[in-house]
């Protein structure tokens, strides 16, 4: 039987382990990645010629990062590896690609596809978040890890989730001044979450270590902190905040405090990059824990579409360690479905470890509860869509005056989610505002549908590709701007 090579999208921990597993079983998969070097965001490698050690770059994760990098190097010549390549459209049996360096377009037929597209920060904005000097937590980390730069001299880090403390620790350790860590959750949340997290003591210990290190080194850490706004016209000059528990709104609220700073990093845990799964027709379901509609996958990482497997954070946030396991499991499922004999004991071991991680994630959600009161607090003049400057009040007006009750209707009425980022930065926030304004639970307002191209491509490429792809208004908007 002459089958085409399996295709993997994404060379982070999930994609690399999937590739390694397929190679170990005698296949030569195609591995497509937008970055120039393998590792994904979490284990992103600096450009060639940078000098810092892996210990300096990845800290406690150095061994993990090195493991993924080495696994990739070991199979590199056994892969059809395509770095700096964007998958901008996915259809049954066909992917549309663009080489990011030459902007050359191509198509790739697929029969089996492992989608490992990862995640970005979940953003809940505050007034002033579009000011130069305000970045996501992940972005702040990329600046340091990938470029050796801090986002500013005096940095405030805000939001919640494990990345908050990790970035604060990495920044302070690298010599940046961390003026404050503003955590929307509290120590009480963490204590309540302890029983669920004890199953993964190493991960728990790291979190405790970062917090202890920050306190020891005099970094102010405030909990139940609500960011009110960033001040400054063309640069960040200060950040205003107050004590308030947005996870359980209605309680006591503190007085406003102002911290002088020239940069801010913020984020509220992560959100999955689900666009390709969506274009491929995978079934989605609302996940209450992650407060998002996610593509459904079984324990073997099979999606609802035959031949499509979903590994890593791109189909629900499980973290990097789980992504490695999920990548391997997806590859083993693909092999199973081909009729290749695989190691059943290894399958059982992976599934058991993934179940333990799932229990830990439940604990993490409790440790860093979503700030449910965020939408009610968002002022009408808050810019929600940074691409097209669409404000919360415009979204609320569409609900009030036009009866919008669903995200794609809201998008059609206001253009929210239609700009260049395709809702990656505004989607979570717009969903919260719609649900709050309409008085509906967040699971009932739907999700933004994925649209090709999932990232901007030049119009010349679009036309020359000569494929029967309808130019969506997003594509036209990209190129008109």
């Amino acid at each position: 039987m002459n089958r085409s090579a399996p295709v993997i999208v994404g060379a982070g921990p999930a994609g690399v382990r999937a590739a390694q597993t397929l190679v170990a079983h005698g296949l030569r998969p195609v591995l497509i990645d937008e970055a120039a070097r393998a590792g994904g965001q979490i284990y992103r490698q600096p450009p060639q010629g940078f000098a810092r050690s892996k210990k300096a770059l990845y800290g406690f994760e150095a061994g993990r990062a090195d493991g993924v990098h080495q696994a990739f190097e070991a199979v590199r010549t056994s892969l059809d590896y395509r770095p700096q390549t964007l998958v901008w459209n996915a259809q049954p049996g066909l992917l549309d690609l663009m080489d990011n360096t030459t902007q050359a377009a191509s198509s790739l037929a697929w029969e089996e596809l492992i989608v490992a597209t990862g995640a970005t920060d979940r953003v809940l904005p505050f007034p002033g978040w579009t000011t130069p000097g305000v970045y996501t937590l992940g972005g702040a980390q990329v600046a340091l890890k990938f470029q050796g730069c801090a986002i500013g001299r005096t940095v405030v880090l805000a939001g919640n989730g494990p990345l908050l403390y990790l970035v604060a620790y990495q920044y302070a350790k690298a010599g940046a001044t961390v003026a404050a860590v503003l955590d929307s959750s509290s120590l009480a949340d963490r204590t309540a979450a302890l029983p669920a997290m004890l199953g993964q003591p190493a991960l728990l210990a790291k979190g405790i270590y970062y917090l202890a290190w920050l306190k020891l080194h005099g970094v102010p850490v405030h909990t139940h902190a609500q960011v009110l706004r960033v001040e400054g016209d063309s640069r960040v000059q200060s950040l205003a905040w107050r004590h308030a528990n947005l996870a359980q709104p209605g309680g006591k609220v503190g007085t406003e405090q102002v911290i002088p700073c020239d940069a801010v990093g913020f984020g509220y845990a992560l959100r999955s990059e689900t666009q390709l799964a969506d274009l491929l027709g995978c079934r989605f379901q609302f996940d209450a824990m992650q407060r998002a509609h996610l593509p459904v996958r079984d324990r073997a990482m099979r999606s609802s579409v035959p031949g499509v497997y979903l590994a890593g954070d791109g189909a629900g946030i499980m973290g990097a360690d789980a992504a490695e396991l999920a990548g391997e499991r997806a590859a083993l499922a693909l092999l199973q479905d081909r009729g290749v004999a695989i190691d059943g004991a290894r399958v059982a071991q992976i599934e058991q470890q993934l179940a333990q991680v799932a229990a830990f994630r439940l604990g993490l959600e409790r440790a860093f509860p979503f700030p449910q009161g965020w939408a009610a607090e968002a002022p009408d003049d808050l810019v929600v869509c940074r691409c097209e400057n669409i404000r919360a009040g415009e979204l609320r007006a569409a609900v009030r005056d036009c009866g919008a009750r669903e995200m794609n209707r809201l998008k059609a009425l206001t253009r929210v989610g239609m700009g260049r980022c395709q809702g990656r930065m505004c989607g979570a926030a717009a969903t919260e505002i719609l649900a709050q304004a309409a008085g509906l639970p967040v699971q009932e307002v739907g999700r933004l549908r994925g649209q090709a191209p999932i990232k901007p491509i030049p119009i010349g490429l679009h036309l020359s590709s000569a494929l029967a792809v309808t130019a969506s208004d997003t594509a036209l908007q990209e190129d008109a701007s």
């Binding site: 972005g139 730069c149 986002i151 691409c387 260049r420």
Partner: protein, 101 residues
Amino acid sequence: MSQSLQPQLVRLAEHERATVAFTLDGRAVTALEGDTVLTAVLTNAGSLRRNEFSGQPRAGFCMMGACQDCWIATADGERLRACSTFIRAGMHLLSGSGEGA
């Protein structure tokens, strides 16, 4: 120094690299080899572009090719995604915030 010329990013490590000369809004400046266009510009200035809708300056946001808020114009009329394009000697970049803008 005017606000727009004040750098946003601060180099904390990896100083030992060859310099790369380019121009920003007509001004001759330098970066280091391996810098992205974003790093090259924001270690020399405070922003990359202006938002088409608000007219306000922007300096990127996600740093990982997702937000699309770091596209910068070149003198040739090209647009580059600054966080995922490496700086090359002789690039002529326009942030829309320079003296001539």
